[in-house]
């Protein structure tokens, strides 16, 4: 199981942005969703997750809201801002270019 630090620089940001693209989520849900959608291949440790969330929030890509949860207490829900959505588009493009280039290289080399 690769640790997030093994992920390519900026990949974690991409994963987070993509994960909350549809619904606002809190930190725990984000880490669970990433794990779930990757069939347990990717686990995001909270040690990386929360600094990343705060960084993205500070950069203005995501915004946070305190909302009540099923557990009866409020949690910090993160959602994409309009600029964050554009940033996600850009990052996806970059990712596509990069991964196809890597795939191409692996095939031809």
């Amino acid at each position: 199981m690769p640790k997030p630090s093994d992920l390519l620089q900026g990949t974690l940001d991409l994963l987070i942005l993509k994960t909350i693209a549809r619904d606002a989520m809190h930190g725990w849900a984000i880490s669970k969703r990433i794990q779930e959608l990757s069939d347990d291949v990717l686990t995001v440790q909270q040690g990386s997750l929360y600094p990343a969330l705060h960084r993205l929030e500070h950069q203005g890509w995501i915004a946070a809201d305190w909302k009540p949860t099923d557990l009866g207490r409020t949690a910090k829900f993160y959602s994409l801002t309009r600029e964050g959505r554009q940033q996600l588009e850009r990052e996806l493009e970059t990712w596509d270019r990069l991964s196809s280039a890597v795939r191409l290289l692996l095939k031809r080399a």
Partner: protein, 909 residues
């Protein structure tokens, strides 16, 4: 980046800074929520609650570190640390209140004084000049080609030629100083006021608009040669307020000037200050046009250049004209060129030297204060080494530690910068006392505006770096281990900090010496000028001026050798004599006499060619100076005669005409001979009679600062021509009275004024002065006082620096001293041993400072009089003063060190 995102980021950041606690709480609550879910997940998987809690703690790891990391992501750590550092810095400043106060005060003084000088300089160089489009205004001077240093005003004939034939000026005008007496009335005594004769172009060039009435018309300007037509006059707003109580009907009102009625046609605004703010009235120059062939360079020409014309182009234009005129009228202006000055240069050239001197002195004090405070901070940083070392060992980065120390400097600098506002406020006001000579305006009034605040801010920033760099560098030098090792007392003494502090103190001594020497040279100059032997006894002597306006007694009567000639009628000598006799009768007056110009303080003195003795085509400045005196002038002045006798009552018109000459004149024209009995004739009019020299008087300098005496001759008011040649006809109507009092002459001023008002209600006494050298000092040398004050402060700061390093060194050497004392060393040996380092420091500083002082002395050389820039006694005294101050600063610490009880000191560690 979109605006929305920018706003979001900044909102976020501000919230993190301003609502720090709330944000921290949110992070904590967010992480707690995560932990709770983690625990719940374990419990759901069947793990017992306490084990689940333990596992969750393990998975989460160091929550505090995670919170820090989140904070780092918010980029507010910097602020957070600053907040802490500021609190810490403030506590440190409060702890050493005395030292902090000195540091802040000296820095504030340095910043404030420097900012004040820079603000005034900025106002002079870039400020507006209160004339519309003032950058196109120029002043025209003439210079002898052979002696370009001798700037003069212009001839009227030059001006007329320039006005008719120039190609580069939009308008050009002329003015001529013309002080007058405003007649007295029931409420107000008569009063001497400054005025100018001007032409139409003068107002046009300076583009002034009257606040009431109108200017002179071109026609009035041209209506020449009608002395009995109505006199028109423009007055200043100041005079209108002061004397006429803002009379709304001032235009058209008749006022009495020089015993003639004059009709006010307008009032000029107070902002119109050309050449300075002292001018209170203007008359049309028309009546003087008759003397267009005047051979005196007395006319101030001011012009407005056409747009796009540079000063160089205009200067070339006028020089070409000057050459043409010299060809057409040989003998008048050949050998003379033209120099153009921007109005700004002409007005403020005088201020360059005092401003530069005071500015450099202020900067030296600022530098000295910086070095001083840097030393203090360095000492504190050294004392805090154990603490810093511990923090370094616990993982604080060097940058972080350096920053903490820099925060302290920042705090000091900012507080000092704030306090310096007071110094700036006073400084710019005090500089208005850098009194200019007549004819140039005082330094402009500077308010505290954005520019000044920016200047103070910039200086504060420089100061902050200046005081913080050395301690911060010293603190981060070497790693943690070095830092820890440096804590032990034995190594502190040898540490590089100590050496650095020594260098800093040497620098302070050097800087203080530079200022002390500079101040010494300037004070020396002032004292020498003020107390110089003037060739007469100035104590108990009162001088005052009195004038019968030339309008009243000069009647044009043809011309001679190209210059206008006037008939003197009625001769003013009688009226002058009456006033003098009335003054001599005032109780307390021992004797009274008169002379045509102030003997030691006149700017424009009549110089006459002498037949057969001077070359008629030589420069005016090479002619001897002519004074008219009353009988008994020299005995009233107590000016000793070297040979012969003085001018007496019996030397009347009917008797042979006589003269007294000074030694310089005797030496110049009759070297090696006795001049008594020699004869000369003034070469201005054919009817001048030959005068016989009856006495030689010691040289009296015509200006207090004069170094080489000029040739001067004195003739009697009773033996004079009935005609006068322009431009010196006026001297027959003016007299400077010299009054010898029994004691202090000042109480006589009131009675004398009164006595004169009795017989001459329209002609006041003016320019009343005593021979007191102090007057000279306060009038001319205010900046010397400023430099001296700064030098004293510099010396105090430097001694403080010496005191600091001595106290500190000796505290570190307590053990060594104790051992010496225990081994039986006497007080003298101990003092010698412990004083040595400070002696070398002070010695090095003085050696360094002497070099700087020579440079400073050279810079102010042109302001020195009677003392060279490398005057050895001044240097020696300044150095001795510093050594004495340093020695005094050592007394306390050394005494403390000697009082140490050996057993206590040895047990202390």
């Amino acid at each position: 980046m979109t605006t929305a995102r920018l706003l979001r980021i900044w909102g976020h950041r501000l919230r993190s800074i301003l609502r720090r606690d709330a944000v921290e709480l949110e992070v904590a609550s967010e992480l707690a929520f995560h932990r709770e879910l983690l625990v719940r997940e374990r419990i759901d998987a069947g793990v017992p609650r306490d084990q689940a809690e333990r596992e969750a703690t393990l998975v989460l790891g160091n929550v505090a570190a995670l919170r820090d990391e989140c904070r780092d992501q918010r980029r507010v750590t910097w602020w957070h640390d600053l907040y802490q550092d500021l609190g810490y810095g403030l506590r440190m400043l409060r702890r050493d209140r005395g030292i902090s106060a000195i540091a802040v005060a000296s820095l504030a003084l340095g910043i404030g004084a420097t900012a004040a000088v820079l603000s005034v300089t900025r106002a002079i160089v870039f400020g507006s000049l209160s004339f519309p489009a003032a950058d196109r205004l120029v002043v025209v001077r003439t210079v002898p080609v052979a002696r370009p240093g001798q700037e003069s005003w212009a001839l009227l004939s030059d001006y007329l030629a320039w006005r008719e034939r120039n190609r580069t000026f939009e308008t050009i005008g002329v003015s001529h100083g013309f002080p007058g007496d405003l007649g007295g009335d029931v409420d107000e005594p008569a009063q001497r006021i400054e005025g100018q004769l001007v032409d139409h172009g003068f107002f046009a060039a300076l583009a002034v608009k009257p606040i009431a009435g109108r200017l002179f018309s071109d026609a009035e300007d041209a209506a020449l040669g009608a002395p009995h037509s109505t006199q028109l006059i423009l007055i200043s707003e100041r005079l209108w307020i002061r004397r006429f109580n803002r009379d709304p009907a001032i235009v058209g009102r008749e006022i009495r000037l020089n015993r003639r009625q004059a009709v006010v046609v307008g009032v000029l605004p107070a902002t119109f200050a050309y050449p300075d703010g002292r001018i209170d009235y203007w008359l049309p120059m028309a009546r003087l046009r008759a003397s267009a062939t005047d051979s005196a360079r007395l006319y101030a020409v001011v012009g407005r250049l056409k747009p796009g014309v540079t000063i160089q182009m205009a200067e070339a234009d006028l020089n070409r004209l000057a050459a043409d005129v010299a060809r057409e009228q040989p003998g008048v202006s050949d050998g003379w060129g033209v120099r153009l000055l921007s109005l700004r240069t002409a007005q403020y050239r005088w201020a360059r030297e005092p401003l530069l001197t005071v500015g450099v002195s202020s900067a030296i004090v600022l530098l000295l204060a910086c070095v001083n405070v840097a030393g203090l901070l360095l000492a504190r940083a050294t004392a805090r080494r154990p603490e810093l070392a511990l923090r370094a060992a616990l993982g604080a980065s060097r940058g972080r530690i350096a920053r903490q120390l820099l925060t302290e400097s920042l705090l000091l600098a900012v507080i000092a910068g704030g306090c310096s506002a007071v110094v700036v406020w006073w400084g710019v006001r005090a500089m208005r006392w850098f009194a200019p000579l007549p004819g140039v305006p005082a330094l402009p009034r500077v308010g505290i505006d954005a520019g000044v605040i920016a200047l103070v801010g910039l200086l504060t920033l420089i100061t902050c770096v200046g005081i913080g760099l050395a301690p911060a560098l010293a603190a981060v030098r070497g790693g943690g281990v070095d830092l820890l090792r440096a804590c032990t007392a034995a190594t502190v003494r040898r540490s590089r900090d100590q050496r650095l502090r020594g260098v800093l103190v040497s620098a302070q001594v050097a800087l203080a010496l530079v200022l002390l020497v500079g101040a010494g040279l300037l004070v020396n100059t002032v004292v020498r000028v003020a107390s110089r032997d003037l060739g007469f006894d100035s104590s108990g002597l009162l001088t005052c001026e009195f004038q019968i306006s030339p309008i009243e007694f000069l009647r044009p009567s043809g011309s001679y050798r190209g210059a206008a000639v006037y008939e003197i009628s009625p001769p003013p000598a009688l009226a002058l004599r009456r006033v003098l006799e009335r003054m001599a009768a005032v109780p307390g007056v021992v004797s009274a006499a008169g002379i045509s110009h102030h003997p030691t303080n006149s700017f424009l003195l009549p110089r006459m060619p002498l037949a057969g003795l001077t070359e008629s085509r030589a420069l005016l400045s090479s002619f001897p100076v002519h004074f008219l005196v009353t009988p008994r002038f020299f005995s009233t002045m107590r000016a000793p005669l070297v040979a012969g006798r003085e001018i007496e009552e019996q030397d009347t018109d009917a008797r042979p005409w006589v003269a007294v000459v000074n030694e310089a004149m005797a030496h110049r024209f009759w070297p090696g001979e006795s001049p008594i009995g020699k004869q000369f004739t003034i070469d201005t009019l054919p009817s001048e009679r030959t005068r016989t020299i009856v006495g030689v008087v010691r040289d009296i300098p015509t200006r207090r600062e004069q170094t080489t005496p000029e040739a001067v001759y004195y003739t009697s008011y009773l033996q004079q021509e009935q005609r006068a040649r322009a431009p010196w006809g006026g001297i027959y109507g003016r007299m400077t009275f010299v009054i010898r009092a029994a004691g202090d002459p000042l109480p006589l001023v009131g009675p004398l004024r009164h006595a004169v008002a009795e017989i001459e209600p329209d002609r006041p006494l003016s320019s009343i002065a005593t021979g007191d050298p102090g007057d000279y000092f306060w009038l001319r040398k205010m900046h010397v006082a400023a430099v001296s004050g700064l030098a004293v402060i510099a010396t105090l700061l430097a001694s403080l620096g010496v005191y600091g390093i001595m106290a500190y060194t000796l505290a570190g050497r307590a053990r060594e001293i104790a051992i010496r004392a225990a081994l039986g060393a006497g007080t003298r040996e101990i003092v010698r041993a412990i004083s040595w380092p400070s002696l070398t420091i002070v010695g090095a500083g003085i050696a360094l400072g002497l070099g700087g002082a020579v440079a400073f002395g050279t810079m102010i050389e042109s302001q020195l009089w009677g003392v060279s820039a490398t005057d050895r006694p001044t240097f020696a005294i300044a150095a001795l003063m510093l050594v004495a101050a340093a020695a005094l600063a050592c007394v306390g610490p050394v005494r403390n060190a000697l009082r140490i009880d050996p057993s206590t000191a040895l047990r202390a560690e």
